[in-house]
């Protein structure tokens, strides 16, 4: 089977864009990706489009052209973008198609997500009593992790501090002003141990990636950014997930650990070979826990990693080089694809003020979400 390459990338800036629908932000990203790849819309053979709350992606053919192409909508929670990308990859790997697209966009109202219990097979009382809240899970998971592995609040602050500093140099990011560490630490608590700077916000944005077979990519004359692995997994026994009225006493693994291990196996490399990583940071604790769940360090080592700056742009493993979800917000359908967009930018050396030095050759992305799903990609140049 031939490698699948990413030959075009486009992004609509994340954040709040009043007056522009989520779908139109997706269209914006597609046009940019087409221009980047140097191909026109009718030459795409297929698309997988993802959106959680901003309408049916395939309606964008109205704006982009009625070429009659195959267009499949994907809705898979926080793994929506990753699922679209996985599907697009398989469509090319199978030999069925040579060139196509994965696109994702979203536009969420302000404030935390208000999920309904019935959508997650939970009783109504769970939502009525005030448990149907993602921030409670993230906070409780981090609180336990900090207790078990000696992670301090200062480390949480360092993660947020890094996010906003990196985002200063990312034109597509939402919150692009540095926030001093003491301001982050002293801000009002939202859900302990997290202050308001340590949570990402649901937002808006769109991302498009054009994928091609290696043969097609060579014809286009693009640098060969290979998608070496794209995995999506659900939870194993004993995991601790969003919207859990109870969890097992015997603790188990996580969807992330499975997706990550499978991605490394597919790519034939290990965590130590990765030059830059985008890890799901719905809040500052998630980035810390996901460093270990994705195999980059052992539980508890994050405290030293952050104090030593190892995940900074110039560190041994730069993490969330565009500020991640903390600085970009989380439009669900677009968020996972933003991570891949950022990695293509890094592997091409186009990162400007946020460029990872020393010519990175490998890049890793990871998303996690309700009700216990994770998607991972590994790119190589």
């Amino acid at each position: 089977m031939s490698d699948v390459c990413i030959v075009g990338i486009g992004i609509h800036p994340f954040g709040r864009t009043d007056g522009v629908s989520g779908l139109d932000q997706g269209v914006f990203a597609v046009r940019q990706a087409l221009a980047d790849a140097g191909v026109d819309w009718p030459s795409l053979q297929f698309a997988y489009g993802g959106s959680d709350a901003a309408g049916n992606p395939d309606t964008m053919v109205e704006s982009l052209g009625l070429s009659g192409m195959q267009f499949i909508n994907v809705r898979n929670g926080c793994a929506t973008g990753g699922s679209a990308l996985f599907s697009a990859q398989m469509a090319i790997k199978s030999g069925e198609f040579d060139i196509g697209m994965a696109v994702g966009f979203d536009k969420h109202p302000r404030g935390a997500f208000n999920a309904m219990p019935a959508e997650y097979n939970l009783p109504d009382w769970y939502g009525e009593a005030g448990y149907m809240i993602t921030t409670q899970f993230f906070a409780a998971k981090a609180m336990r992790y900090m207790h078990e592995y000696g992670i301090t609040s200062t480390s949480l602050g360092r993660v947020a501090h890094k996010a906003f500093r990196n985002a200063v140099h990312a034109p597509h990011a939402w919150r692009r002003e540095e926030v001093p560490l003491d301001v982050i630490m002293d801000a009002p608590l939202v859900s302990d141990p997290f202050t308001k700077y340590m949570f990402c916000s649901p937002g808006e944005g769109g991302v498009a990636l054009i994928l091609a077979s290696e043969k097609k990519a060579r014809e286009l004359g693009k640098p060969l950014i290979r998608l070496k692995a794209a995995t999506m997994r659900t939870r194993p026994p004993g995991s601790f997930e969003v919207f859990a009225p109870s969890i097992d006493v015997v603790r188990g693994g996580s969807a992330t650990r499975i997706a990550s291990a499978d991605a490394f196996a597919q790519a034939g490399i290990g965590p130590q070979d990765i030059a830059v990583a985008q890890l799901q940071d719905t809040e500052a604790g998630a980035e810390i826990m996901h460093m270990a769940e994705n195999g980059f360090c052992k539980d508890g080592e994050q405290e030293a990693w952050l104090a030593e700056g190892r995940t900074e742009i110039g560190g041994t493993l730069p993490v969330n080089t565009d500020g991640g979800c903390l600085a970009c917000g989380e439009p669900i359908g677009a968020s996972g694809l933003r991570q891949v967009y950022e990695n293509v930018v890094q592997l091409r050396g186009d990162g400007g003020g946020r460029q990872v030095p020393n010519d990175p050759k490998t890049a890793y992305t990871h998303v996690y979400g309700a009700p216990g799903v994770s998607a991972v990609t590994i790119l190589e140049r």
Partner: protein
């Protein structure tokens, strides 16, 4: 005052939470799922704090049915040994006195609803507290 949902508590005094025990694997969960895979399984009333946070903003309605006025409350996961770890409010404890590992016991507390009568919900309180005073969350 009745409970927020039927089948959540046992009928005894003091009541226990009704979990579910998987008929094949023995796995215990809370609440008891509908259907025939799980049988109702009353959970022990005492456990220890596994983790917690403080809910410091009013959740969105729907689905939240609480009163329009809002006071932060602690949300916990309480480990019931050999059974399961249940999600619950904490009551009768100051926020800064909450520590992982502290012994807790089940109580019922009133839950003020917007435009409806209050109902009883489950909560855990420190075991050293005198019981029988379901006065709600104190900060």
């Amino acid at each position: 005052m009745h409970a927020i949902a039927e089948g959540l508590f046992t009928e005894e005094t003091p009541p226990r939470l009704v979990g579910g025990r998987h008929r094949q694997t023995g796995r215990i969960v809370f609440p008891c799922p509908a259907g025939s895979d799980y049988e109702p399984y009353p959970l022990r009333r005492q456990g220890t704090l596994w983790s917690f946070t403080i809910q410091r903003y009013r959740p969105k309605s729907p689905p939240y049915a609480g009163s329009d006025s809002f006071e932060p409350w602690p949300v916990a996961y309480v480990e019931l040994p050999d059974e399961t770890i249940v999600e619950s409010r904490l009551a009768n404890v100051a926020f800064d006195a909450i520590t992982i590992g502290m012994p807790l016991e089940l109580i019922q507390i009133p839950f003020e609803r917007s435009g409806a009568e209050p109902v009883l919900v489950h909560a855990f309180q420190p075991i050293s507290q005198p019981s029988g005073q379901p006065t709600g969350v104190s900060a």
